[in-house]
């Protein structure tokens, strides 16, 4: 644990100012499941959303690219009429 880390108030703040260690950090004073469950799902949702969007954009561009190659002349005609 890098020693320059800030002070961290441990469980219920009785012995304030003590340096934390990693497993204590993950235990979150016994609430690890709830805290990490929240943060984890949140991160997951955000990341999944972004990934889905990127995929959507990629497939869309591919499809439109294919379409524009096939019908680009046709599209123009339609617009002129």
């Amino acid at each position: 644990m890098p020693s320059g880390w800030p002070k961290y108030y441990a469980l219920h703040g009785r012995d304030e100012g003590r340096e934390m260690n990693l497993s204590e950090f993950f235990a979150m004073g016994g609430y690890g499941f709830y805290v990490w469950g929240s943060y984890g799902v949140t991160a997951l949702c955000l990341i999944v959303e972004v990934v889905l969007l990127m995929r959507r954009k990629r497939t869309l561009l591919q499809r439109l690219g294919r379409m524009s190659r096939v019908t680009s002349t046709e599209v123009k005609n339609e617009i002129q009429t």
């Binding site: 108030y9 219920h12 703040g13 009785r14 304030e16």
Partner: protein, 155 residues
């Protein structure tokens, strides 16, 4: 011309209706519509008899007693005017503390003891580190304690 008059009439009627709705809402909030009953209400026989209801209030300081099985607990719920003893068998929520808000669901026995089937902790909207709390408690203990109680008791 004529349709404009109509439109005006519609708007007036609409506003009147909204006013009426607002009045009814206020009326409803004046009345008691509660998630739970306070001990005072229970003593005033406002709470349902012979069926389950929710009892809310503060856990009286120093009233919590555990039985030997480690599961059954007794404590007193107060709204600073009246007290009711509650018996509960089960796991208490972590936020359950003496002096803190609690909502218990269960029924009132004729002996005046409230048998709870479910206990929920209600807490206040203050967030601060413990030492600040200590300092506050030392200084103006009353001011901090009242809002907690107030949220529970006001309806």
């Amino acid at each position: 011309m004529k349709s404009r008059h109509k439109r005006l009439a519609f708007i007036v009627a609409g506003l009147a209706g909204l006013g009426g709705a607002a009045a009814l809402v206020l009326n409803a909030f004046n009345d008691n519509m509660v998630f739970f009953f306070s001990p005072t209400q229970v003593f005033a026989k406002e709470s349902p008899e012979g069926r389950n209801f929710r009892l809310g209030g503060l856990v009286e300081k120093g009233s919590l007693k555990r039985e030997d099985d480690g599961l059954t607990v007794h404590f007193v719920v107060t709204d600073t005017h009246k007290d009711i003893t509650v018996t509960y068998k089960g796991i208490l929520p972590d936020l359950f503390r003496e002096g803190q808000g609690v909502v218990a669901q269960g029924r009132l026995n004729p002996d005046g003891v409230f048998y709870a089937e479910e206990v929920l902790a209600k807490h206040d909207e203050n967030y601060m580190p413990p030492e600040v709390k200590d300092a506050l408690d030392k200084g103006k203990a009353k001011n901090v304690a009242t809002p907690t109680g107030a949220t529970l008791i006001t309806q």
